[in-house]
C-alpha cells in the first residue's frame, strides 16, 4: 500500500470528498490540516509541493497531485469507487460536476463582494440553482433501479460520497430552506450512505468544523 498524505485547511471543504473516499475504502492516510499561518509558511518554504499554490494536495509516494476533484477521482479509481465502466465513470463525473455548480452558488452567497450581491446570490441559489440541480439528480437517482440504491451502478461510488460531503452544508446550515427534504430519494440516499459502517465511523471521528 502506498503512503498517502492529504493536505488541506482545518475544514471539510474541498478535501472532504477525498477523506470520505479513504474512509469508504478503509485506507489509511495522513490527514494533514493547516491553519492560515501554517499555510502561508508552507507555501513559501515548500512551494514545489504545491504545484498551483493551492490546497488540497495529495502526496502519494513522492508524487504530488493538486485540484480537489482530480485527487478524489484518483483515489476513487485506485480503490474501486469510481464506477465500473467508462460510461458509469462519466455518470459519476456528471453528479460530481453538477454538485460543483451548486457549490459555486453557495460560495457567492457566503463570500460575495457585498451584502447586495450576497443576497442576490442567495435568492438565485435557493430558488433556481439548487432546485434545478437537485431535481435533475433526483431524476437521475430514480432512473437507477428506482433510486433506492446508489447514484450509479449498484454500489457506492464517489458520486454518493461527493453528495454526502456537499449536503452537509445543506442539512446543517441551509435548514431554513429545507432544500434537501423536498427530494425523497436524495434524502434517503444521504441517510443510507451515512449508515455505512466505514462512513459512520469517519463522521463520528472527524474534527467538527463549520464548513
Amino acid at each position: 500500500m502506498p503512503t498517502y498524505k492529504l493536505k488541506y485547511f482545518k475544514n471539510r471543504g474541498l478535501a472532504e470528498p477525498s477523506r470520505l473516499v479513504f474512509a469508504a475504502a478503509g485506507v489509511e492516510y495522513e490527514d494533514i490540516r493547516f491553519d492560515r499561518e501554517q499555510w502561508q509558511s508552507e507555501k513559501e518554504s515548500s512551494s514545489e509541493k504545491y504545484p498551483f499554490g493551492q490546497m488540497p494536495v495529495l502526496e502519494v509516494d513522492g508524487e504530488v497531485i493538486s485540484e480537489s476533484k482530480a485527487i478524489a477521482r484518483y483515489l476513487a479509481n485506485e480503490f474501486g469507487l469510481a464506477g465500473k465502466t467508462n460510461l458509469d465513470k462519466a455518470k459519476v463525473d456528471m453528479v460530481v460536476d453538477a454538485l460543483q455548480d451548486i457549490a459555486k452558488g453557495l460560495v457567492e452567497m457566503l463570500f460575495g463582494k457585498d451584502e447586495a450581491q450576497k443576497a442576490e446570490a442567495k435568492e438565485k441559489c435557493l430558488t433556481k440553482t439548487i432546485p434545478t440541480i437537485f431535481s435533475a439528480l433526483e431524476k437521475m437517482l430514480t432512473s437507477n433501479n428506482g433510486g433506492d440504491g446508489f447514484f450509479v451502478g449498484d454500489s457506492l461510488t464517489l458520486a454518493d460520497l461527493a453528495f454526502i460531503a456537499h449536503t452537509d452544508y445543506h442539512v446543517d446550515q441551509l435548514k431554513e430552506a429545507a432544500t434537501l427534504s423536498a427530494f425523497p430519494k436524495l434524502t434517503a440516499l444521504r441517510e443510507r450512505v451515512l449508515e455505512q459502517p466505514n462512513i459512520k465511523k469517519w463522521i463520528e471521528a472527524r474534527p467538527k468544523t463549520e464548513l
Binding site: Y74, N77, L87, K91, D93, M94, D97, T132
Partner: protein
C-alpha cells in the same frame, strides 16, 4: 462505433475540447450547434439532464451532461486520457487549472462595462501568468518539456490547454512568448494532422 451527437451552441467555449478529442481520435460524430433562438424550446423538451449544454447523446440511448464529464468519457474511450490512474490524475489537474483560465476569459468576454472589463483583464493577466508559470514548470518536469503535458503522448490535457490558449488575444495575445515550452506545445498540438484538419474546417466563431 456508437452514434454520437454532441449538442452545444455555435461557439467553441465548453464543447471545443470534446470536438478536438473526436478529431484527434478520428471518430465521427454529429456536431450539433443549436441557435440561440432555438434554445428555449430545446431546453423545455427535457432532453438535457441539467437544462444545459453541452450534452453528448450516445446511441440515442443515454445523454451525458457536463463538459468535463463528456471530455473525460471520450478521452477514456479513445486512449487520450493518460495511461494509468496517476497519469489520469495529472491530466485532470491540468483540466481543472485550464478551467480557471476559461472562466476568467469568459467573464471578460461577456462584460459590457468597458472600465470594469479593463480592470478584469488586468487582474486576469496576473492570474494567468501564475497558472502558465506553473504549467510551464509541469511541462518541463515531464522529460524536458518537448513532448506533452502528461506522459509521452497526446492527451486531452494538451487539447484543453490549446483550446483555452486560443483565447489569449482576449487578455494578452503574446502571453505564451514568456513560456517557450508551452508555446511550442501549442504549436505541436495544432500541427497534429487530424487537429490541423479540424482547425481548418471548423466553423469560425467569436468565442
Amino acid at each position: 462505433m456508437p452514434q454520437y451527437r454532441l449538442m452545444y451552441f455555435n461557439i467553441r467555449a465548453r464543447a471545443e475540447t470534446s470536438r478536438m478529442i473526436f478529431a484527434a481520435a478520428g471518430v465521427e460524430y454529429e456536431d450539433v450547434r443549436v441557435a440561440r433562438e432555438q434554445w428555449p424550446a430545446e431546453k423545455a423538451s427535457g432532453k438535457y439532464p441539467f437544462g444545459q449544454m453541452p450534452c453528448l447523446e450516445i446511441d440515442g440511448k443515454f445523454t451525458l451532461a457536463q463538459s468535463r464529464a463528456i471530455g473525460r468519457y471520450l478521452a477514456n474511450e479513445y486512449g487520450l486520457a493518460g495511461k494509468d490512474n496517476l497519469e489520469k490524475a495529472k491530466v485532470d489537474m491540468v483540466i481543472y487549472v485550464c478551467e480557471d483560465i476559461y472562466v476568467g476569459v469568459r467573464n471578460i468576454f461577456f462584460e459590457k462595462d468597458e472600465t470594469k472589463k479593463a480592470e478584469m483583464k488586468a487582474d486576469f493577466v496576473v492570474k494567468a501568468d501564475s497558472i502558465l508559470a506553473a504549467l510551464e514548470k509541469l511541462l518541463i518536469a515531464n522529460n524536458g518539456g518537448n513532448g506533452y503535458l502528461v506522459g509521452d503522448s497526446l492527451t486531452w490535457a494538451d487539447l484543453e490547454f490549446f483550446v483555452r490558449m486560443e483565447y489569449a488575444p482576449f487578455f494578452n495575445a503574446a502571453i505564451l512568448d514568456q513560456y517557450p515550452k508551452l508555446k511550442a506545445l501549442a504549436e505541436r498540438v495544432s500541427s497534429v494532422p487530424e487537429i490541423a484538419a479540424w482547425l481548418k474546417k471548423r466553423p469560425k466563431t467569436d468565442f
